[in-house]
């Protein structure tokens, strides 16, 4: 790892691109739109419902195929972590449920999610499972259901089973919400979602090479917008941004990869970058472990043509880079190292959400693997809330200074 001097100035490039005077024209307008959706996704959902008169279905993790919801003419909405402090979940669930999962429950208890006509859970983790129990018992939305999701992701049996299970869930949605499945719409949804994910992947690749050094905080806003806006509108906005990138130069901020589970806290990402780091790539469940999904290009099982869309959905979602709640999780480490290399990142920032069991166990192994690869890593444990603290800034600055000293441990 080559050391280099840091001016001590705020990072010029990524920061400047995000600033009002750094952006102009169509690209700037597109960015402004994506940013506004990313920072206030529920307002966007309200607009969508008002304009289209469609129902909306919430979901919580990146293993849930939004195409399934769209195929019923329902708007999918990934409920993001609001990051607000709200004690009211304690009346329903213990404090050792992870704060991100509790946050989702708190939003429902506050009434913030009243726009949702239903929600769909997967097993994902034991904290979300607890939230599901409360949601279900308290009927926090008119429709509450869950996919009996596989945990093992590398077998043909899991693909076959999930394909069947998705169809059973689809039948229940159709019945409960009087929203029949439209096979044509399923195929169109798959195509539309593939398109938008491919564009996000393109943006990520251009950020990684600094061809389009959009601030990491803005990239997070794009990720939120991607699962909030109607796909065609999102695709149009992101295409515009990609075609007319606002002016900006990569600064001398130290590029790092952000690794974790979900991470929707844009303000916290901005705080991280203001310590002189550039979030050059992400290893997040809602980021690079999601936007690589390509359903349409899934090969058929041996001897079968054409690919059944349900099977393609199941296969694509099961074979994405795995989260630590899945088995096997080992490809995650390769994925992370690959991201570091592709983005020429100098280190990894591992964000460990408090009480996240699977990440707590994954952490020592990722740490050791990164050490073997000679990649410095810093772990930050937090609750996905707030906008950073003085203590965090100090640690982040110390981390950045390691690279100025030549990447050695300091």
């Amino acid at each position: 790892m080559s050391g280099r001097a840091h001016t001590g100035e705020p990072p010029a490039g990524p920061g400047a691109m995000g600033s009002a005077h750094g952006a102009s024209g169509a690209g700037a307008a597109a960015l402004a739109r994506l940013r506004s959706v990313g920072t206030d996704p529920l307002s966007e959902l309200a607009h969508i419902k008002e304009r289209t008169g469609l129902m909306a279905m919430g979901y919580f993790d990146s293993y849930l195929p939004e195409e399934l919801i769209m195929a019923h003419g329902i708007v999918p909405h990934r409920v993001t972590v609001s990051g607000r402090d709200d004690p009211r979940s304690h009346e329903f669930i213990q404090g050792y449920a992870c704060p991100a999962a509790r946050d989702l429950l708190e939003q429902a208890l506050r009434g913030d999610l009243s726009l949702l006509d239903g929600v769909l859970f997967t097993r994902y983790c034991d904290s979300l499972r607890g939230v599901f129990a409360v949601w279900d018992s308290q009927k926090l939305s008119p429709f509450v259901d869950f996919v009996r999701y596989p945990t093992v992701v590398d077998t043909e049996g899991a693909v076959t089973y999930l394909a069947q299970e998705l169809q059973e869930v689809s039948a229940r949605i159709a019945r409960a919400l009087d929203a029949p499945l439209d096979e044509r719409r399923l195929l169109d949804s798959i195509a539309a979602c593939d398109r938008k994910r491919a564009l996000v992947a393109e943006l990520a690749a251009r950020r990684a090479t600094r061809d389009l050094p959009l601030a990491g905080a803005d990239f997070l806003a794009v990720l939120v917008a991607a699962t909030t806006m109607l796909p065609d509108e999102f695709t149009a906005a992101l295409s515009t941004l990609l075609e007319h990138p606002p002016a900006g130069e990569p600064g001398d901020a130290v590029p790092v990869v952000l690794s974790g589970t979900t991470f929707d806290n844009i303000a916290l990402a901005a705080a991280i970058e203001s310590a002189g780091l550039y979030l050059a790539a992400d290893d997040l469940s809602t980021g690079s472990r999601w936007y690589g999904i390509r359903v349409g290009s899934q090969p058929a099982a041996a001897g079968e043509t054409p690919t059944d869309p349900w099977e393609a959905l199941a296969r694509a979602y099961l074979t994405k880079p795995p989260c630590s709640v899945k088995e096997p999780s080992s490809p995650r480490a390769d994925h992370l190292v690959g991201l570091v290399r592709a983005s020429a990142a100098e280190g990894v920032l591992f964000y460990l959400t408090k009480f996240c069991d699977s990440e707590q166990v994954e952490w020592p192994f990722l740490r050791d693997r990164l050490a073997r690869e000679g990649i410095p890593v810093m772990m930050v444990e937090g609750d996905q809330k707030g906008e950073g603290s003085g203590a965090l800034s100090t640690r982040l600055e110390a981390f950045r200074e390691r690279f100025e000293l030549g990447g050695e441990d300091s």
Binding site: E91, Y96, G157
Partner: protein, 410 residues
């Protein structure tokens, strides 16, 4: 009231003596198996030991081992070892204790022999999977996960087909790893013994309905071991028979395990293994936990008799709808049924910080029980294996207040 006031010592079951030699024999076998180079497997409680006895592979249950560490109050020391390796202090205390032994070779039995293989099932928690994963990576032990997707209340249809196919995959994998072939006839023999013991266990649980109750919660928790680790062996049947006969005799004689039994309570969740004395101390106040939910996991509702004709299908049905693999509705129904059957005055919900799947529904269960049946519940913060997470003084005063609530209702 004094927590340790003068009273007659509790009369322990005679069967506890033979239990000690049973446990000693089991650990002797474990070490003998290793020294003779015969195969052994680490299994979690969701994986039926019957398959492994039938294949002559020694089944070892780390959860059971963890409880032994808890009983000896050495979890904090072992946890310090796993924390030094980077594993969070928030992980399940079973995991911290066992990993501490794996990393240091320290523990109640010294260094544990490295198993030939590991199998876990997803029907308890995510923690199990990542626990086995940690051992797999550290010791490089071949590891298999049996997928059992979370269900609402039963495993049926495609879900049952999938779990059965997972069991077949497990058998083939174990055969491949060990070269030992599963002989169905041998499995049936083991199943016959297993069923016999389960029926006796069910009688034991039933005998607790007597007024006064013949045994305490400490008695029954102590006698879990054969149900977990020895199902399908002759010594398991013999031990359970002796246990049942002794308890039956107590019932016939009108013996009261708690003199002047005044409060018939239900204990929800794992017990604090490091403090089974809590139950004795409460006995001085006339409290007996006449029933609990934990031992029900091995009871007829969740681990009933296996169909000898089609054992794999039958195992799959129980595994797929294991105690922690079903939803809050079934947990509530069980509580309501037990409250009625055992004449319960109140429920102590042990909010076990380690165990999210068991605990995170308790706030809601307590509310429902109070609302629907008028049965009061106490949420008691603690942990099943780490004594530093139980504030004994606070717990005691909460329990005292709870007894007053029950008195107030009489």
């Amino acid at each position: 009231m004094s927590a340790t006031g003068e009273r007659q010592p509790m009369k322990r079951l005679e069967a506890t003596r033979s239990l000690r030699s049973l446990i000693k024999g089991y650990y002797d076998d474990l070490f003998r198996t290793a020294s003779e180079g015969r195969p052994s497997a680490w299994l979690n409680v969701g994986v039926p030991c019957e398959f492994f006895y039938a294949m002559d592979i020694f089944p070892f249950y780390p959860e059971n081992y963890g409880a032994a560490c808890g009983a000896l109050k050495i979890t904090p020391q072992l946890s310090a070892v796993s924390e030094a390796h980077g594993f969070s202090a928030d992980l399940c205390s079973y995991v911290r204790a066992t990993l501490g032994t794996v990393f240091s070779g320290e523990g109640p039995y010294g260094e544990l022999p490295k198993p030939t293989l590991q199998v876990s099932a997803m029907n308890s928690c995510i923690m199990i999977m990542v626990w086995w994963r940690a051992v797999q990576r550290h010791w490089e032990v071949p590891t298999f996960v049996v997928d059992t997707p979370l269900v609402r209340d039963q495993s049926e249809g495609i879900n049952l087909d999938y779990v059965e196919s997972e069991l077949r995959r497990m058998v083939a994998w174990v055969e491949g790893q060990t070269g030992r072939v599963l002989d169905l006839e041998r499995l049936r023999e083991v199943v016959r013994l297993s069923n016999e013991g389960k029926e006796i266990w069910s009688e034991v649980l039933d005998l607790r309905r007597a007024r006064p109750c013949p045994i305490t919660a400490a008695d029954i928790f102590t006698h879990m071991f054969p149900m977990v680790a020895l199902r399908g062996t002759p010594q398991y049947v013999a031990h359970l028979r002796a246990l049942r006969d002794e308890i039956k005799q107590r019932v016939d004689e009108g013996f009261a395990a708690v003199e002047g039994e005044r409060y018939r309570l239900l204990w929800d969740n794992l017990p604090p293994w490091f403090d089974l004395k809590l139950f004795d101390d409460l006995a001085a106040r006339g409290v007996n936990f006449v029933i609990d939910t934990y031992t029900q996991a091995w009871g007829p509702r969740y681990m009933g008799p296996i169909d000898e004709v089609d054992p794999l299908r039958s195992f799959a049905a129980y595994m797929g709808a294991g105690f922690l693999n079903v939803q809050i509705g079934r947990r509530y129904d069980l509580l309501a049924e037990l409250v009625d059957l055992y004449g319960v005055d109140g429920v102590v919900f042990h909010s076990d910080r380690s165990c999210k799947p068991f605990s995170l529904v308790q706030v809601e269960l307590r509310r429902k029980l109070q609302e629907n049946l008028g049965i009061p519940g106490l949420l008691l913060e603690g942990d099943h294996n780490d004594q530093t997470l139980l504030d004994r003084g606070r717990a005691w005063s909460q329990l005292e207040s709870f007894l007053e609530v029950i008195d107030g209702r009489r």
